[in-house]
Each structure stands twice: as structure tokens, then as C-alpha cells.
Amino acid sequence: MTTSVVHPLAHGDSVIHRIDPRVRLLCVLAASVCIAATSRPGPLLAACALAAVLVLVARIPWRPLWRRLRVLNAFMAIVLLTVPFSMQGETIWQAGALGASREGLAQALRIILTGNTLVLLLTSLVATIEPTVLAHALLHLRVPDKLVRILMFAVRYIDVLNDSRLRMDRAMKARGYVARCNAHTVRTSAYLVACLLAQSLDRAARIERAMRCRGWRGQFPVLNHFHAGARDVRFACLFAGALAAAMVMP
């Protein structure tokens, strides 16, 4: 067995991990709407602090969290380098013909804060849900069946597909292939992609047959159901209260 592409943050046992996934999804949805709707720094800072607290409570390991934040903030560096120079307003710094505006800087900081808050929220509340449970929770929240099935099959088969990619990669290397900047490399990469596509189509056809063999008629039965308890209600109330308090910050 090779390592999984799907990264497990879900195998924890914090308070957060035990909250009903549906409740957690609704909390994230509510928080995202509020954060997107506000533009004042006070509420944004408060929401960011709330998300940070949740990350601590969920006992997310530092390494995967750091990796996520690094990817996001590498992107955000571009925002910080471009937005202040592209907005009109009071100039606070002049670099040749380009001037950075106070409003632009404030806007860039807002975008960065919003982005980080959302990543912290998603990491603490959604990444801690097992992907398959997440799919079920989405089904129960009336997200269209087809979309959720795509997610489920992706989770199930991404490793199988990745395995065949790694196998082909190794077979190519064993025959002396080295990726270079030439036509041969481009053609070989195209063959690899085409081969993976063909394999996926074949597999999809075989899976469909396997499903028909077991009586499938286009409807997916769900075996496990969720039960929200008092703890979930308490969490939802606490979260709603904290979010409301954050939003009325000066």
C-alpha cells in the first residue's frame, strides 16, 4: 500500500471532533457569510481570534497547519505587493512612478486577514471530518446528490489512480526516461495523461457493472445516520454567540 493522497487530520479525539459534522458545516457556512459581509477590521480580528481558538481546541498538529498557511500566504504576498499600488487614495510610500495608498494597504490587509481566518476555520471544523463522513453530512444537508457522489468517488479512487500514475512513472524511469525540456518529454507526458484517462474510463465502466451486479438502480442507499445531541446544540449556541459578539466589535 502506498501512502494516501487524502490527508488525515480527521483522526483526532478533541471536543471538536466529536461535534456532529452537520453542525460544524453549518457553523462554517454562517461564519463565512458573516466574514464576507463585514469589512471593518475589529470584527475581522475578532473572528480570526475565534478561529485560532478553535484550531487550538481541535488540537490540530502544527505541521499540516503550517503547510496550509504557508501555501495561502505565499499567494497573499502577491496581494500585498499589488493591491496597495493599484488603488486610489492617500499616498504613503512612493517607489518611482508607483505610489502605495493607505486605502490599498488597508484593503490588502483585510483580504489577508479574511483568507487566514477562513483557512483556520476550515482546518479546525471541516478538515477534522473524515472525508466519507463529510460526504454523508453534505447529503443530509440536501447538497445535490450528484455533487456529493463525485466527492465520494473522488475520495475512494484518487489513491487507486495515483497508484497507477506512480507505477507508470516508475516504469518510465526504469527505461531511462528523464523529464527534460524537449518534444519527447511533452509527448511522453501526454501519453501518460491519455493512458490515465483511458484507465479511469475503463475503471468507471467496470465499477458501474459491479454496481449493477449488486442490484443498483441509480439510487444510493445511506446506511448510517447522524444524531445531533445536547452537546451539539451547546456548541452551535456557543459558536453563534461568539460569532455575533465578534461581528459587533467596534
Binding site: M1, S4, P131, T132, A135, M152, F153, V155, R156, Y157, D159, V160, R203, R206, I207, R209, A210, M211, R212, C213, R214, G215, W216, R217, P221, L223, N224
Partner: protein, 233 residues
């Protein structure tokens, strides 16, 4: 076990012909019967059409000529095959094709849920099937994290959960190590169902099959008598 239904063969195939590409026939005049309690081994070279034959028996491919009768019913198209699919279970050559549900428990439950059992009944069936095969400890595991042998066993559990009368097994032991092969062999010997077992491992077929046919040049024929092979010590 004296009821007249036993007199009718579970599977009767007559003059079956099949091809994927016009002009390149794969099967021509396949002829056999499977009766209750029988374990029919089918051997044959790679690409001789063994998997295709099993797909034809399930109604997943359409024959060019000839007939397939399951449990005494003549089956021509999807409508004829569909109600019988629960009574005849196919174990696919690649277990990854069969295990598409997220967890082992749900995968085993897929068939019975489709058959219309209630959730409580399905839970019972799943628990019983997994326990019978000694797989109870795997119930909550994600299917994509199982080992090759575990995948094969869970796929078999998914088929058995539908309580079929006939099993079609496509190379149930390829890619398994000796331990896992021995486990599968023991498991198959303990099952009451009639089976068609496709394999090109003569030793395995001798262990589990009550008779063995060879698929060659598009038809099933008797196994040639094997001359004793020189043993080097």
C-alpha cells in the same frame, strides 16, 4: 434437498458465441451446465475469454448467438437478468472495481439495501456476513486502505451478503500471497453455494473444484491429462 427445482440446472449455457470486434470471435459454441452443489473450475490462457464468459453469464455483455438460462429462465436482456442478479453473485477480477463504498460496512450493506431490506435487517446481515468470514474487525475501515487479501475477502462478503445461490469467482486468488490463498481456499470449501471458479492455478483448482474445464479456442473442453512434471529436489 429433494425438491424438483434441483433437477433444473442453475446455469445452462448453449452454443454461446461472443466477440468484442467483428471478425475476431472470442467465444464460439460454449456449452455447459452448472448444477446445485457443483464447483466448476474454468481454466484457460490469458485473454482466452474467461472474464468475458462470466460477464455474459451476468448479462453484462450480450452474446452474438446462443442462450443463457439461469434457474430455468431464459435470459435475453437486462429486464430478464435484473431480478436474478441477487441470486447469482459475481466476484470481479479486480476487487477495487467492486469496493466503491467508503467503508467496509457500507460496501457490504450496498447489495442488501438495494434488495430492499430494512436498515435493521441490513445491519444484521452485514454483521453476520462479516463475522462468518472472520472480517468483523474491518467493519469501520475505509475500503481503500485495505490490503490486497482483505480487499478480496471484503468483496466476497459484499457478494455473499446478497445470499446468492450461485457464485461466479473471477481469479479469486491471483495477486494473493500463500497465506491469503490458503484462507480463500478454506473459505470457498466452507460455502454451500454452487460455483464457477475461474483460475489458471491448477493446484488451487484441484483443491476447490469438483470438475474443471478448459477454455480454449473459444470453447469449453475437457482438461487434457497432465503428464507428471519432473520434480527437481
Amino acid at each position: 434437498m429433494n425438491d424438483p427445482a434441483i433437477q433444473v440446472p442453475l446455469i445452462r449455457v448453449r452454443n454461446l458465441a461472443f466477440r468484442y470486434h467483428a471478425g475476431r470471435p472470442l467465444l464460439e459454441g460454449v456449452l455447459f451446465e452448472l448444477r446445485a452443489g457443483e464447483r466448476l473450475g474454468v481454466s484457460g490462457a490469458n485473454g482466452s475469454g474467461k472474464s468475458s464468459l462470466l460477464q455474459l453469464l451476468m448479462g453484462l455483455e450480450r452474446p452474438a448467438a446462443g442462450t443463457v438460462e439461469l434457474f430455468g429462465h431464459l435470459c435475453r436482456d437486462e429486464v430478464d437478468f435484473r431480478p436474478l442478479r441477487g441470486r447469482i453473485g459475481l466476484l470481479f477480477q479486480d476487487a477495487d472495481d467492486q469496493l466503491f463504498c467508503p467503508t467496509v460496512e457500507e460496501d457490504v450493506a450496498f447489495g442488501p439495501l438495494n434488495q430492499g431490506y430494512s436498515h435493521a435487517q441490513v445491519r444484521g446481515i452485514v454483521a453476520r456476513t462479516l463475522a462468518d468470514l472472520g472480517l468483523a474487525h474491518l467493519a469501520q475501515r475505509p475500503t481503500h486502505q485495505l490490503s490486497g487479501g482483505e480487499k478480496r475477502a471484503v468483496a466476497l462478503a459484499g457478494v455473499l451478503a446478497m445470499q446468492p445461490d450461485v457464485l461466479l469467482l473471477d481469479e479469486p486468488t491471483t495477486c494473493l500471497d500463500e497465506d491469503a490463498q490458503a484462507r480463500v481456499t478454506r473459505l470457498l470449501l466452507g460455502l454451500p453455494q454452487a460455483m464457477v471458479i475461474v483460475s489458471h492455478d491448477p493446484h488451487f483448482l484441484r483443491c476447490v473444484a469438483s470438475r474443471t474445464l478448459l477454455l480454449r479456442d473459444g470453447a469449453l473442453c475437457a482438461m487434457p491429462v497432465v503428464r507428471p512434471v519432473l520434480r527437481s529436489v
